[in-house]
Symmetry: C2
Subunit: 339 residues, 2 copies
Amino acid sequence: MKKSKTTIRDIAGALSVTSSTVSRALNNHPAISDDTKQLVTAMARQMNYKPNRLAAALRSGKSMNIGVIVPMVERSIFAAIIRGIEEVVAQSGYGIIMCQTYDELRYEKRAFDTLFRSQVDGVIASATRSSGNIELYKSVIEEDIPLILFDRSIDELGVSSVVVDDFKGGYEATRHLIEQGCRKIVHFAGDLDIKIYQERLKGYKAALAEEGIKFEAHRVINCPSDIERGRKAAEQIILDNDIPDAIFSSSDFAALGALQVLKSKFKIPEDIAIVGFANEPFTSFVEPAMTTVNQHGRDMGRLAAKAFLDCVANRKGYVPRQIVLQPELIVRASSKKLN
Amino acid sequence: MKKSKTTIRDIAGALSVTSSTVSRALNNHPAISDDTKQLVTAMARQMNYKPNRLAAALRSGKSMNIGVIVPMVERSIFAAIIRGIEEVVAQSGYGIIMCQTYDELRYEKRAFDTLFRSQVDGVIASATRSSGNIELYKSVIEEDIPLILFDRSIDELGVSSVVVDDFKGGYEATRHLIEQGCRKIVHFAGDLDIKIYQERLKGYKAALAEEGIKFEAHRVINCPSDIERGRKAAEQIILDNDIPDAIFSSSDFAALGALQVLKSKFKIPEDIAIVGFANEPFTSFVEPAMTTVNQHGRDMGRLAAKAFLDCVANRKGYVPRQIVLQPELIVRASSKKLN
DNA sequence: CTGAAAGCGCTAACAT
DNA sequence: ATGTTAGCGCTTTCAG
């Protein structure tokens, strides 16, 4: 039953043609007669032929695989992005090698190692903290393989990227809070080594400034994207005497943690309004439903993938472009003061 | 700057040895002197050498990539499994090519295509609906590449698998409900083409039978794993006159949908208790917190990966084994009647 | 329209 | 401990 796998040479033998012909027929080369193509594909099926992409890749220099690097697939934004990427690249015959960094440099390094050794035709990645890893990305560029960044980009690299306007997201979230009458707005800042979190913070500051509300450094609390850390931060707030009237969190997870602890002692949103960031599915069904910022993950994935395809299509004349998606504030009960 | 990539031959040239020596040195072959290894690795780094896995794979017949097929990465159980797999196989130098089926045969087919063509050294997969795709899995076996199934296995295949005892999960969930005093227990059944959902249903029936509660077919409602479908099902229940005192849902998502609509009209859990399945993160923070069944995703992934490694280690003498994990009922507020 | 020939970069007997 | 040799399965000029 189990004989050595059929190769194009076997097919060629069975048909008394050469492997070149078979190869061309299989790849739908224009200079092959329809008759031959018919014969070859029929025989291929009959012999249960499975092309060996590795060999093709080695010879042609194209692996038809692209690497996708995300912090972690559990985050719905990244799952959505992967789906978006997959949708478009699959149509061009590409497979995806997915790597997760868990936001740690050593995993990020390993990811690049895996991808290089697999000879991927391109890398679509979201960078981790923006220090220490630039060399990694530069090495991709030096190897001359297309690199597209999404969500968290690295400007110095000058490659194509698809990001959401985090500044605007932070700005609108904060502005919305101010419009609800909030004045003492706490910001849960993410890792400020990462640009997107810097931007969200800047947006927050800009909105305050615009409304003439003085920025107070002690209202910015370092709080990673994690429910438990959100709880801790909220507990700290309660201990302090200076209770805010709103929280704008740079992540839905931290916002949720805060919501959980605060709602036992305060009315949400009347006493304290809460806004998160990322539009994780759970935001729509926690109580009260949480206001958040939608980042259009699937679109981001699709656009990144298209950028990659573009880049491959005109290898030489490709000009990188920065695509900036508009975030969308989704207002829900957690921030609607009815005054 | 950008010259053609360095190969082992280049290194060999620079060192006046042969490429075999370089190859062996790089692979830490025992029969190479430490001096030479030192020299070679130093030169490799200096010349910025990046091994071409494709070539190695073509020659050695091992791609050092394994394929992982899941329905969709958004489901936290699958994200957890992937993480478990990755943890284990990465240590042995394997990369992961991830494919999603979205529970549709055509995507499942495409996944296998991608994996075959990439010459993966193994496939770790969760099957979709258990009809129509068996041929796909058989073809993997015929190609003689290790296949491990998880979560949703296919018994006829006789390969190693790691699953959770869905029967027991269904049984315990239902039993718990009965212990709370519930008698009219509705079951939201998943796609009964898929074995895990059949098992959960059987467990439900078994628990009823054990307690002498008559099984009533109309209490089994077809309801896929989807919030919206759960809402619809709950709305239908309200329209009917025969209000149940509990719902055991085969998925957390459907359970959540039901919870959302029911809690406006009924007291949960006093009037209607609710139990889900899968321990999605959101179950712990919806209100009331939802009782559910934990499937130990990360462990499942780890075990599946270990099975794969085992299988590779003793290719000939490998005996497939079925690993069955014990589900864990996590009791939360949505099902605790305080009578 | 098809054939012949030459590898892609690496590994693995078999030598020495 | 290292060198020689022969490909893995496919693509791709260059001929005809």
